[in-house]
Amino acid sequence: MSNAYIPFPSTILDVIKHTAQEYTFRMSYTGDVLPGQFFEVSIPKYGEAPISVSGIGDGYIDLTIRKVGRVTNEVFEHYVGQKMLIRGPYGNGFDTGLYLGEETVVVAGGTGVSPVRGVIDALSKGESRDNKYVIVGFKSPDDMLFKDDIKQWDDTLNLTLTVDRATEGYEGNVGLVTQYIQDLPLSDPKTAKAVVVGPPAMMHFTIIELKKKGFVDENITVSYERKMCCGLGKCGHCRIGDQYICLDGPVFQYDKAKELLD
């Protein structure tokens, strides 16, 4: 019997520094994995942290990690060429095929960009790119992640990049992601699809705006983060109602998600 709790070693192939506290660790990995799924980064003696897959490539996955505590601080003590233990992938992930042929809006905030980066990437390489809208928000220009990707998305898709508050020298949009939704030039919001990922409050208000715009619950997809200790449906921390975020999510259709009361 294989033991699901035993992590396996993965080599750090590259480290991309976005901000002082947020790095992307490119980790060696071969196997099936989808955007929106996550791995447990497992540092013996420190603990484990669930981290979304922020990129998928030949022989690697990207994990974009914010340094916030015991485990993630220790992750930042690791360098290119070293190994880290990981286990996964866990969760359902996004079905990118759902969006390629449809009018689609992706709204992402902060580290919430990580789980949807793979989705946006697929859209930016897809056939019909005119009806793909991406709204990405960060706290300030200093908090921006994936700057290179964002430049490329700006060329290929209808991108709105915004920050909550500007710093000196910044000339782009200022304001919450929610304020750009009503102006989206959609042909038919009733059939358009939306993907929303970010902090709980941002998701809450974004969905209100989307519904005001005419979106229906079934066409809105969200991804949830909850406390997780296992990723395997055992520890109970991530459960809401009859759903386990680690097994049944973290990606949910909103008509289901709205029935989940923490």
């Binding site: 019997m1 294989s2 033991n3 699901a4 709790y5 035993i6 540092i43 013996p44 003696k45 420190y46 603990g47 484990e48 914010r66 916030v68 505590g69 993630t72 709980p200 983060e225 909850r226 406390k227 200790c229 296992c230 395997l232 449906g233 055992k234 520890c235 109970g236 921390h237 459960r239 109602g241 009859d242 386990y244 680690c246 097994l247 029935e259 009361l261 923490d262």
Partner: protein, 336 residues
């Protein structure tokens, strides 16, 4: 096979079995109760029948045999990870009907929800049961309402202390051979079970969403002190947290454990950066109660709660969980 044997003979059988199995049974711990000079009845390893408490409900369930309150999963040294060893001698657990039913719930979480849990499974394989019959219902029990008053069939033998002697329904061949050394097989022995409890609950078939936000939960924000005792005594509560420890005398060595967790206690939902869910105790009560009587059933087809009433027995604030179930039933009818 039915046997009715003298207590002395029964005691000898138990001593023989203690050489084949680790016997895990409810015992009385003097003075360890919640109040001064009260006892607590909890599970422990025994080697004689006299240690076993047959005439009272245990305050705690047997679940620690399968899900220890604190269990080492791995030992870490600088370069290696070593899976923790464990006691792999077969176990014989003395349990009542409700608790035997609880096993199925634990199995659903650890074996059917996602991949199999190896640490659970390796203990689970060792488990055998002795059914302790219930001639009378204890305080706060509502097993009849929960449909758990008749035990599942998978026990080696049952025990009822009767005026005629110890009555046992022996289902295991090897154990039957032991019994035959002490007495003749009698007519069938049916393990005692209760058919009525003083406490009864009505279970709602469907719980409409409106019940989750119903004001009925507010009362518990005030009354419940989120001590978590109701979770720790519950035979079906199984949540845990992962914990890595570095040994202080050697910083390069440590272990990964899992420790019992309670959804009523602060910290259960804490995420990095100070976020948490269900800050109010009333919300935690709603989360726990609906899991026990609805959410688990929606997922696995059976209620999680087995009606043992221990959460009612233990609550320092005298909160009646069975009463809450009835309130949920009423609110569910209204919400239909």
């Amino acid at each position: 096979m039915g046997f009715v044997i003298p207590r002395a003979a029964f005691n000898q059988i138990i001593e023989t079995l203690a050489r084949r199995y680790r016997l895990y049974a409810p015992v009385r711990k003097k003075g360890a109760g919640r109040f001064l000079d009260t006892d607590v009845i909890m599970y422990d390893e025994v080697t004689t029948a006299d240690e076993i408490v047959f005439d009272a409900k245990s305050d705690y369930a047997f679940k620690e045999a399968l899900t220890p309150l604190s269990e080492v999963l791995f030992y870490f040294t600088e370069a290696t990870t070593q899976e923790a060893s464990f006691d792999n001698r077969p176990l014989l657990i003395f349990a009542r009907s409700c608790d035997m039913h609880a096993l199925k719930r634990l199995d659903q979480i650890f074996l059917e929800n996602g991949p199999e849990d190896v640490f659970y499974q390796r203990r689970r394989e060792l488990v055998n049961f002795v059914l302790m019959g219930c001639a009378n219902s204890f305080d706060n029990c509502f097993c009849v309402s929960m449909g758990t008053n008749i035990a599942p069939d998978d026990y080696l033998f049952s025990v009822d202390l009767t005026a005629e002697g110890v009555a046992c329904n022996v289902q295991d061949e090897a154990v039957a051979a032991l019994f035959k050394a002490y007495g003749e097989e009698t007519a069938d022995v049916v393990p005692a079970h209760v058919t009525e409890n003083k406490v009864k609950v009505n279970l709602p078939e469907q719980v409409p969403f409106s019940v989750r936000t119903d004001p009925l939960w507010d009362e518990y924000t005030v009354r419940c002190i989120n001590c978590g005792r109701c979770n720790f005594v519950c035979p079906t509560c199984s949540c845990w947290s992962m914990q890595d420890i570095i040994y202080t005398d050697n910083g390069n060595v440590g272990e990964r454990r899992r420790v019992g967790a309670s959804c009523m206690v602060d910290g259960f939902t804490d995420v990095a950066g100070g976020g948490s869910y269900r800050k109010k105790n009333g919300e935690r009560m709603r989360y726990k109660v609906l899991h026990k009587i609805y959410d688990h059933r929606q997922r696995f087809g059976i209620n999680m709660c087995v009606g043992c009433g221990r959460c009612d027995d233990v609550c320092p604030e005298y909160i009646s969980y069975s009463n809450i179930i009835n309130k949920v039933y009423d609110a569910s009818k209204e919400g239909e």
